[in-house]
Amino acid sequence: MKKIIVLLLMVTSAMTFAQDKNKRETLDVDGVCGMCKARIEKACFKTKGVKSAIWSVETHELKLIYDERKTDLKTIQQSVLNAGHDSEGLKASDEAYASVHDCCKYRDEAIKYDHKKE
């Protein structure tokens, strides 16, 4: 009996340990401009539990802080993909990519250079 309690305690404490309220993660997400930034960050907030999402136009790094008890990285990444932005080798579906604004077609090299002028 004692053993079970100890085991239970260990499991619950390990669980609470693993379940970080303010989990920090970063994802590489492709995009080119401020409009992309708004779209990417908004997509993240669609997932309940995301507390902070900051995407950098320069580094393409999406810094996330989220409640692990409510969501996980895969879900967040999926909503970014659904918004039309490729992330870490995962490609957004063609429909999703088609939905991003013409000036944000980040897969196009010409558009990338256009934005670098800014």
């Binding site: 303010n22 920090r24 492709d30 708004a38 960050e41 908004k42 907030f45 995301v50 507390k51 902070s52 999402a53 900051i54 950098s56 320069e58 580094t59 790094e61 802080i65 490729d86 870490e88 080798g89 995962l90 897969r107 090299e109 250079y113 670098k116 002028k117």
Partner: protein, 822 residues
């Protein structure tokens, strides 16, 4: 051309074959050879291929990374230098059609590391290359190529302006520093925020340098949102106005601690030297509830220079044709990795008597000021603590009045009319900020400020002394609700003000204590809409218990647009003598007509402010421009009316009826061509108050104002360039308070003439360390010939120095230098 990348995620020869075939199918890649042992791939490419492109090809299975130089293997610096010199020589002796250079990682120590594999490409072309193991590169060049884009993963992408094929040495900043690095290139001197809910303008130190002189009140001269009045005839002080309302209705803070208030209201802006100011934020309309309930027309916050970011040594000398001299010196040093300190010394003096208009009175006072500040800064980025401790001391002496006035023999006599104002002020303030390093949206800020202000003065036979002791404390907590789109600020503050005044032959003593709690919620939908809503509750021993609501909104329906609206309430106790002490320099008899109120017998001032603005950025002939329209209305529920309509009296009484200030402004900013910025504004003011004699426009408030500013900078060559700046100001006629009760020669017209003035300045930057400036104020030499009514009979019943609508002194020229060491 060869490119080398690191590949991770490979385990066997199958991977090698996979990658090689995948990469070889990529555009521009002619061959790809993977070395399993060193986990590198060497690509032979016809054109440079970006890392991202390769990463797409490899999907998520492998990751591609540019190779950072292994720090242990880096050749020693002398050899490096040798190589650089050698490559330099080889360039000069060989092809002119090639540009070469070295790319380094920017570092704070003196040992820059070359970057291997940094990519560069000419803007708008597909001509590119990447750096070799020594950070060196060679790239085809012709004179049509102007901008070289240098990028490297983990570093901020830079664009280098290339004028000739001189060897380039460039340092890339790691992106981890991005939060701290302020982008210096082509930063606008003044910028309006498209994103903030409040109508806020940020004035950077570049803008402040456009008017070289000298303190905060003069630094608004190139800013159309703030009107700087002409200095009055006796004290030489300039008052500022916003939305047609004078400075008591503006909350003026230094680093978010209300500072120009109470006893320092009249001269406080001239007690903040211009070189101490790092930037200014000007918010039109009600503003935030965080700093208190007093702001009505707007808020001005001056951020001061900080020991860690200011130059380690700074010297500014200024001399003007009026023989005004100024000295500013800053010393900053870091004591440890966490503590830094700065000592800031300001002194100014003017000791020559001028009387250009021959009225027997000094055109500007004789004065001297010593102003010292010592700042201590503690920064612990790991734990998230930042703290500032500031000590300030000020001594300011002014003497004005008739030319032959001698304070030793003539003070408070009718021998000659004269005035002296002596001020001493001590300030101690401390700030502590904590940002949770784990949870960046959680922060706590504590502010404490203590000041002791002591002014002894007389104006002719009127004596005025004021002592003001003030304590300000504020504790604020920042966090989010749910996610970072919903932010909240909440906190409490306590203020204590003790006034001890001697005016109009009587003692006035008063203590004000207030305790308040506030909450502010802001919402940002990340795109089109932001909102800031604040509410505070205060319990004040004289103003009672009251609520202050403030609301700001922004909506951007299309690109580069911002519609903003605000509404808010403000309440304050009017320091009638301190705020209107210029009136002591007249023969007017002071009367307070009410006696039931808690402040000098008067009630608190209460006003609502409503505003709307529209900002639109656009391109005109391919250059950036923006235009702003704004309209604000301030509606007084109660105001302390300062009634000057009888030339022998000044009456203070509670408002009965209407008092309002409507202001409309349209402003255009246009970057006409490279380095040439033009700004123009038209302002319309309708400021009226119900006086005992009827509803009248506020005296000396022009209905129309026109403003234009042009600034031009030449290209920086060998670290040096020229800067030119011209400002034009035009004011329509201004109403004079009624003078019909004066004897006939002293009856003025109803309105002043219109007036236009031009200021100009030229700065020559010799190097980042040294620059010299030369300028002129009022260079068309416009003058008001008779600023003082009844100057020949200063003890007669019509004497008044408060009818100043234009410059008294005429044109003035100045020169100065700035020397700084990083």
């Amino acid at each position: 051309m060869k490119q080398t990348y690191n590949i991770t995620g490979m385990s066997c020869n199958t991977c090698k074959v996979d990658i090689e075939s995948a990469l070889q199918s990529t555009k521009h890649v002619q061959s790809a050879v993977v070395d399993l042992d060193t986990t590198k791939v060497i690509l032979d490419v016809s054109k440079p291929v970006l890392k991202n492109q390769l990463q797409y090809t490899l999907l998520n299975t492998y990751s591609v990374n540019p190779i950072k130089p292994n720090k242990q293997q880096v050749v020693n610096p002398i050899l490096m230098l040798f190589l650089v010199v050698f490559s330099l020589l080889s360039v000069t002796s060989f092809g002119q059609s090639e540009l070469s250079g070295v790319i380094y990682e920017a570092s704070t120590d003196n040992n820059p590391q070359p970057l291997f594999g940094a990519n560069m490409i000419w803007l708008g072309t597909s001509v590119g290359t990447s750096t070799d193991i020594n950070g060196q590169f060679k790239i085809p060049y012709n004179s049509n190529y102007k901008k070289l884009i240098v990028s490297y993963v983990g570093f901020k992408t830079d664009t280098i302006d290339v004028i000739s094929n001189k060897t380039i040495k460039h340092y890339l900043n790691p992106t981890t520093d991005l939060d701290e690095v302020v982008v210096q290139s082509r930063k606008k001197a003044t910028s309006r925020s498209y994103l903030k809910a409040t109508n806020t303008m940020l004035v950077s130190s570049d803008e402040l340098l456009k008017a070289a002189c000298c303190n905060l009140s003069e630094s608004f001269e190139t800013n159309p949102s703030i009107d700087v009045n002409f200095s009055d005839a006796v004290t030489g002080t300039r008052q500022i106005k916003m939305l047609g309302l004078s400075s008591p209705y503006i909350l003026i803070a230094t680093e978010n601690i209300p500072s120009v208030r109470g006893a320092s209201q009249a001269f406080g802006l001239s007690f903040i030297p211009g070189t101490w100011v790092e930037s200014i934020q000007i918010t039109k309309g009600a503003g935030s509830v965080v700093n208190g309930y007093e702001s009505i027309a707007g808020q001005i916050n001056a951020e001061l220079v900080k020991p860690t970011t200011d130059n380690s040594f700074f010297l500014n000398l200024y001399g003007a044709s009026s023989t005004r001299l100024e000295l500013n010196t800053h010393f900053n040093t870091s004591l440890s990795d966490k503590w830094s300190t700065g000592l800031y010394i300001h002194g100014n003096t003017h000791q020559e008597k001028h009387d250009v208009n021959n009225d027997g009175f000094l055109d500007m006072p004789l004065y001297s000021q010593v102003n010292l500040m010592n700042r201590w800064q503690y920064t612990d980025t790991e734990k998230g603590f930042v703290s500032f401790i500031n000590l300030k001391y000020l001594n300011d002496d002014k003497q004005g009045g008739q030319l032959d006035f001698n304070p030793d023999t003539d003070k408070l006599t009718t021998n000659a009319w004269g005035s002296e104002i002596n001020t001493q002020r001590y300030e101690l303030s401390a700030k502590l900020g904590y940002v949770n390093p784990e949870i960046p949206w959680q922060s706590i800020g504590v502010q404490l400020a203590f000041s002791q202000h002591d002014q002894n003065s007389y104006f002719g036979l009127n004596q005025y002394d004021i002592e003001h002791t003030s304590v300000y404390t504020n504790v604020m907590y920042n966090s989010i609700i749910d996610d970072s789109r919903h932010k909240i600020k909440t906190g409490v503050n306590f203020t204590y003000d003790a006034y001890d005044e001697f005016a109009i032959g009587q003692n006035f003593e008063r203590v004000e204590r207030s305790f308040g709690a506030f909450g502010e919620y802001s919402f940002d939908n990340l795109e089109k809409f932001t909102l800031t809503a604040g509410l505070r509750f205060d319990s004040h021993n004289l103003l009672g218990e009251f609520i202050t609501p403030r609301l700001h909104m922004r909506y951007s329906p299309w690109s580069k647009s911002a519609f903003k609206a605000s509404i808010g309430r403000g309440k304050r106790s009017a320091n009638i003598f301190a705020e209107n002490q210029n009136l002591f320099a007249s023969s007017r008899v002071f009367s307070i007509l009410n006696s039931n109120g808690s402040i000098y017998g008067l009630d608190p001032e209460i006003a609502w402010n409503y505003g709307a603005s529209y900002l639109q950025g656009f391109n005109l002939f391919g250059r950036a421009a923006d235009v702003t329209f704004d309209f604000y209305r301030t509606d007084f529920k109660n105001q302390i009316v300062v009634d000057l309509e009888n030339a022998q009296q000044v009456n203070f009484y509670n408002l009965e009826g209407d008092s309002y200030a409507n202001s409309f402004q349209v402003e255009l900013n246009y970057n006409v061509f490279n380095h040439f910025d033009f700004r123009t504004a038209y302002k319309f003011y309708d400021v009226k108050t119900e006086y005992q004699t009827g509803k009248l426009a506020k005296p000396l408030t022009p209905k129309h104002r026109f403003f234009a500013n042009a600034s031009y900078e030449t290209n920086i060559k060998n670290n040096s360039n020229w800067k030119f700046d011209v400002t034009y100001n035009w004011l329509s006629q201004q109403r004079f308070a009624s003078t019909t009760s004066n004897a006939l020669p002293y009856v003025l017209d109803d309105y002043s003439p219109t007036i236009g003035t031009i200021n100009a300045q030229v700065t020559k930057v010799f190097s980042p360390k040294f620059e010299v400036y030369l300028g002129g104020e009022n260079i068309t030499n416009v003058r008001q010939s008779n600023p003082i009514v009844s100057a020949e009979n200063p003890f007669g019943s019509s004497f008044d120095t408060n009818f100043v609508y234009g410059p008294i002194f005429g044109s003035m020229y100045y020169a100065g230098l700035r020397y700084k060491l990083k």
